[in-house]
Amino acid sequence: MRRAALVFALLALASMGGRAQSSLQAEGPFEERRETLHLDSGATLTLRLLLQPDHVGHADRIIDAARESLNQYGAWFSPYPHSLLTIVDRRWQSTNEDPVEAGAVPIRAHWLQPERSLTLEADVARGIARQWWGGIVQVEDRFLADGLAEYAQSRVLERLFDRRHQRVNYSLAEVRVFGDLVPWAIRALRLDRQTQGIGRIAYRNDPAVDLRDKRRLPRAAQAAKTAAALVTLERYLGWPALQRGLAASAREFAGKPMTAKAFAATMSNATDRDLSWFFDQVFSSRAVFDYSVDGLTSLRDGNTCGAASCYRSTVIVGRKGAATFTGTATPPVGEFESGRALAIEVTFADGQKVLDYWDGRAPSKSLEYQSASPVVSARIDPSRTLLLDLNVLNNVLTTPPASRRATLPWAVRWTTWLQDAMQTAAFFF
């Protein structure tokens, strides 16, 4: 019965694909290219490229990105159900929304596209991810479909960049000038998949974004917040557990609508953990995550620790946002905490390190240590599990306090940029 429903849904999607492609045909005229892809799963798929005439030179890059995406998504989520996939290169300056249609992937390529900046590949990987999240699985909440696609493409891009440049990065930073027509890839500035790869800056700029807002404006921040939540889960649960949850969602909701609530429940079931403590806050609230180290003191206490005198050190960590990263939905009992999602790394002058944990519920927490060496630094969330943490600069305190030395290279580069801007301005006087 279930299988019959699935087959019916896929047939319906395939017929929708025909209509979808016809709606995108208006963006032509196109140059067409066909490629038969032999996927890792053993399946064969025909890839049809409808390219703008000036983008034909990008065909190989698009095919490579499509192959990688189909292979990875097929392995991570579920096999791709169609035998034909059409990638439609939308017309330059087309302002229409990208439709989510089975068998048709709209992309927005540029004529000039530096090889080391993978924005083209990201668009392909994002579009193909939408074949699962929005196509095969009818995701009812736009932010969830966008976030899942954003997260998925970041993983594919990292693999592509690694394969092409032997480095684990997402892309090179790219700036565009001349009315966005001319790109420049900054070779010295590589991007990280787990931050720039998911557009985390959009979340940083609007951390309290309303995920239910249907307008176009907050869409990037909504997608970034959802993707950052998925990266947080990836770091907290591990990729195998997260992948299991994603595969379960893709399998369970194939051809069916999926709400954010249903997705959260499926993830909890698949990972065998109650993740409602996390999803409720991310999907249903505008509360912001922000943890910090607020105090660090280390004083001799008059006792002796072996041959040396003892130090009594106090580390104070705090919660600045309303959201809590607890690790469990089980409420605390009395004075006892419940959950240990947040790690606190305390480093002593003799090089020893202590790792403590906190459930992150209280507005602040004080940790005391007696040791032969003073504490030199304290850091909350040292492995940066909580990517939704708004401000990571307040996650660490040191003794003596940190100097401005760390930011000197940026100030130097900024000054050189200013000097160049002055020289450019000198043309006018």
């Binding site: 703008q52 000036d54 330059w92 300056q93 004529w111 000039l112 480095r167 700036v175 000038v177 001349f178 009315g179 027509l181 001319v182 420049w184 900054i186 070779r187 010295a188 500035l189 590589r190 990280d192 931050t195 720039q196 985390r200 940083r204 630094s377 401000n391 990571v392 600069l393 660490v396 305190l397 040191t398 306090p401 940190a402 100097s403 401005r404 030395r405 760390a406 930011t407 000197l408 290279p409 940026w410 100030a411 130097v412 580069r413 900024w414 000054t415 050189t416 940029w417 200013l418 000097q419 160049d420 801007a421 002055m422 020289q423 450019t424 301005a425 000198a426 043309f427 006018f428 006087f429």
Partner: protein, 331 residues
Amino acid sequence: MLMLTAWWNGIVSALRAPLMAMAIYVMLIVIAVPIGALVHEQLPVVEARLAPAVETPTPPDADWLEEVASGAGLFSATLTPAIFGVAAPITNIGAVIDARGWPLPVIIAAVAYALCWAWLWGGVIFRLRGRHNSGLTAFVGEATRHMPRMIVVSLIGLAAYAGMFLALHPLLFGPVFRSLASGGLERTAFFWRLSLAAIFGVALVLVAQVLDFARVSIVFGRPGLIGAMGRGLRFVRRHALIVLALALINGLLFAALVAAYGATEFVPGGSVPRLWKVILIGQAYLVARIVLRLAGIGAQVSVWERAETLARHSLGEGGSADQPASETGDR
């Protein structure tokens, strides 16, 4: 031939005036470094281990830049990937072509630099005219003597540029570009935009040349301001091809300089130069840019002198550089 001679003379005279180039560079430093220090002061204090790029040859971390930039107050909007190496000149020139407004720190620095140049112009033209070191006192004397008129010339230029950016630019890159490029390919749009940029660029260069030759005219002993502007205008009109060709050569040399700068920003194998090398390379590029500008001014001075000499030969002592080409024999 006149153009090539003038260009070569410009290069030679600029290279023979290293102290002048260094003095301009020092002014650039004196204005920019305090603002840079202010930026450094505004940046949040962070523990070094959060900053993976500090004095290591590993490439800088863009995520960290975003974190730091968000806490940089007034300067946060300017702390972008565009500050990296050759991206700086590309985006700064892009900002001019696209008529994007400059942020406040750049405007403040540019105004200060413009005042310095208003003082420098007289001395620079005087020095490049003589093509020999006439001494610091003479340089300072000429610079100070002509400063008020140079300020007025710059203000006239500012008004002209403002008109161009407020009227011509929006027209060219607004309705004209849209009507030419709409419905077409991106490649076609690029070439249309390039063509429009060339039109706008030529207009900008011509205005700049009129102002520059007005300045040259002032230093060459014809101090009347209105007359100088008129002479600058007539000179550019009569020697338009030479003037534009010189600007083109200077532009090509600048493009080569930017390309050379770009080649140094990355070490093959995946690392970036150390901080001290980044500073050294960046400053060397800026010094070269100053020398290039001086060479351009030197070439203008040379063209003016040559035209003036020809005019004297044709018309006796009363001849002037802005005389019609038919009268000076220069075409």
